[in-house]
């Protein structure tokens, strides 16, 4: 037989675990470098410089980077409580999109009927509600009948996208097939820019959320209930936790936050709605949250990492005249390596004892 076997590790020091993760990222980056050099024929160090330039090169780029991180982080925070509960909500895309749609609808139909601050308030509320409804429906069925939530939320994404498509085809500007920037002249319902920076408020809101989520998960009773349900539903029942209630409540929170992310995307950045408004962040967020072991503080780091590689790879593809999807390949490779490294954190490989053993 094979000369080794695999056993589960008890507990690894946290710094060792992060050393392994760090090594896996470096290894992944090395593979990416090989791929890049192979495709572009450039010097690897040159390529890295281009990536850094793409992410931090100008003030504008830094803000775009921060905005990218903030949005990804916001949705990652939203999906985290549900994941901690082992509720595989892959419907963040749809939940955020419904939130964005609610915001866009408010911007279109309320316009100046309300003062701007009230309009924005209404947008926040309706967006969060829309996201919450989209999140609670699968939770209800999961709690009541045990319906598979992964497949349920997946379907909900495409129903949301189709609703947006219908909305767009009804209200499209002229024959363009898409909705133009809303209220471009009046800026009604636009997130106010603080200190001349359009994205600053977005970033601050998400940072505050990060801290709140960290405290909620770590120190609140509800956060504790979530982790018990996630570890073992039977234990939770035994100690008197109402599992159904926890599932629905947690998905309500998830949905509310996804809706808020949708609001931030529409009101704070795009000022319009499209099928691609969320742009796959609902799926990437799952990886961000999981890579950070559901810890909101680490999530800042993981979302930075993914957004950095994305922006950097886009810069490379622009300079070399390659397709921008290049960034997906790079992000994919990095994620593969981090996913793989978890094995070496959770398990260890031991040599088999000699056959028969010593006497």
């Amino acid at each position: 037989m094979l000369g080794f076997h695999v056993v589960k590790r008890k507990n690894m020091d946290w710094w060792k675990a992060w050393l392994i993760r760090g090594a896996s990222i470096i290894l992944g980056a090395a593979v990416c470098a090989v791929v890049i050099v192979f495709l572009t024929g450039k010097d690897p160090l040159d390529v890295f410089e281009t990536m850094v330039d793409g992410a931090f090169g100008t003030e504008r780029r830094i803000w775009a980077l921060l905005q990218g991180i903030a949005m990804l982080l916001c949705i990652s925070l939203a999906v985290t409580p549900a994941f901690k509960m082992k509720f595989w909500n892959i419907g963040a895309e749809g939940q955020a999109l419904m939130g964005g749609l609610a915001s866009a609808a408010c911007m279109m139909f309320i316009k100046d009927a309300l003062p701007n601050w009230l309009l924005i308030f209404v947008m926040v509320v309706t967006s969060m509600l829309a996201g919450a409804i989209w999140g609670v429906i699968p939770a209800f069925f999961k709690a009541r009948w045990g319906t598979n939530e992964t497949l349920f939320t997946l379907m909900m994404n495409y129903i949301a996208m189709q609703i947006v498509s219908v909305f767009i085809s009804i209200f499209a500007t002229g024959g363009s097939g898409k909705i133009d920037v809303l209220n471009a002249s009046t800026k009604l319902g636009w997130m106010p820019s603080v200190g001349g920076q359009a994205y600053l408020l977005n970033v601050v809101i998400v940072l505050v959320l990060t801290v709140i989520m960290y405290v909620y998960l770590k120190y609140s009773k509800q956060g504790y209930e979530i982790s018990v349900v996630g570890e073992s539903e039977n234990t939770a029942k035994y100690i008197g936790i109402n599992v159904k209630k926890v599932i629905i409540r947690t998905m309500l929170i998830s949905g509310l936050l996804c809706g808020l992310a949708g609001f931030l995307l529409v009101s704070g950045a795009d000022h319009t709605i499209a099928r691609e408004t969320v742009g796959g962040r609902g799926f990437t967020a799952i990886m961000v949250s999981w890579l950070a072991k559901f810890n909101p503080i680490f999530m800042v780091l993981t979302s930075f990492l993914l957004v950095f590689f994305e922006k950097g790879a886009i810069q490379i593809s622009q300079i070399c005249g390659l397709n921008a999807s290049f960034s997906d390949i790079i992000v994919g490779i990095i994620i593969f390596f981090i996913i793989g490294s978890e094995f070496f954190i959770n398990y260890e490989i031991k040599k088999n004892a000699k056959e028969g053993g010593s006497k």
């Binding site: 319906t147 349920f152 219908v166 796959g280 990437t284 390949i329």
Partner: protein, 331 residues
């Protein structure tokens, strides 16, 4: 009548990529692995075929390609591409026991990126002078249909007018169904998906079953991508053209209750629902509202999912160990 014939033909052509994807995903899920990488794998299957055919066509010239090689080369490169994707997924989820959802989604990100990247940059990388990826000559070879179809009237049009990959899809689904339900291999496979610990105790090599079925499933799903680009899209690659079909294939798995033979009518039905708004008109509804019809496949799937969870009938449930990785020493 002619309109129905045309509608049915289009529905079949829409449905076949879904059928390939669904059959592949059913096999994978039967081994207990929820492979959310299927959409990415289908992209890779498509683009790998395109790459193979692109280099073949540009090396010999579109005018004098050998029809046999023109089919064989893309077929082999497509299979190779999907196989590599399947192996990545297996290595991460079976050997390294990584989380299946995260791995699958990463695979989809990677696969769609890979497809769109090479679709958009192939010409530049290879330094070719073609203006766009149009593999019409290869597509023609793929589209060759049975010669006697035209002479059989409506029946011929409905059932015999398709290219060979359509029949491959249906035959693969039927064979998979047979193997799953009527052979020892199928029984073992289902045991692995329902309860790997029990299967292991019965002397079944759990990891081997998982590897083989997941890779086979990937290859089958990848063929769906190949069919889409070579046949449905007439050999013209357009980025994002494949769309959400991969997720629709995952939906069919549920709709067909994890049975490959049921996936055949289900795929054609979904294909039909996908395009029905072109064919019917309901008074009072404009083209805008007709967009709603594209929602139907997902809505119907959702309803099926809810009903099977309410009825709790054992035959129509997802495999019990779906989504869980297996570690022998965990018991």
């Amino acid at each position: 009548m002619m309109m129905f014939v045309q509608f049915f033909q289009r529905a079949v052509m829409q449905g076949i990529p879904l059928l390939f994807g669904a059959t592949g995903e059913i096999l994978t899920e039967k081994s207990g692995h929820l492979n959310l990488g299927i959409p990415g794998i289908m992209y890779v299957g498509a683009i790998s075929g395109v790459i193979g055919s692109f280099f073949y066509e540009s090396s010999v010239g579109a005018a004098n390609i050998n029809p046999f090689l023109a089919v064989l080369i893309p077929l082999l490169t497509s299979i190779l591409g999907s196989l590599i994707m399947g192996l990545i997924y297996c290595f991460l989820t079976v050997t390294l026991r990584a989380n299946q959802n995260v791995t699958g989604l990463a695979l989809t990100t990677f696969g769609t990126g890979f497809g769109n990247f090479f679709g958009g940059s192939l010409i530049k990388i290879s330094g070719s002078d073609m203006p766009a990826i149009t593999l019409s000559a290869t597509s023609k070879c793929f589209k060759t249909s049975l010669p006697f179809a035209d002479s059989l009237g409506v029946i011929g049009k409905l059932f015999f007018s398709y290219s060979f990959l359509v029949y491959v899809a249906i035959i693969v689904a039927i064979i998979s169904s047979y193997v799953l339900n009527h052979t020892r291999t199928g029984l073992h496979l289902r045991a692995v998906g329902e309860n790997p610990a029990t299967a292991d105790a019965a002397g079944i090599n759990v990891n081997r079953y998982k590897y083989v079925t997941t890779c086979l499933g990937s290859i089958i799903a990848g063929l769906g991508g190949l069919y889409y680009v070579m046949d449905y899209a007439s050999g013209i690659w357009s980025n994002g053209g494949f769309g959400d079909r991969g997720w629709l294939a995952v939906a069919i798995v549920i709709f067909a209750l994890w049975r490959p033979n049921w996936a055949i009518p289900a795929s054609i039905l979904f294909g039909g629902l996908f395009i029905i708004y072109n064919y019917i008109s309901i008074p009072g509804l404009g083209a805008e509202q007709m967009e709603l019809f594209k929602m139907l496949p997902y809505l119907v799937t959702l309803i099926v999912l809810i009903i099977i969870s309410m009825r709790e009938k054992r035959e129509s449930q997802p495999p019990q160990a779906l989504g869980l990785s297996y570690f022998r020493e965990d018991r």
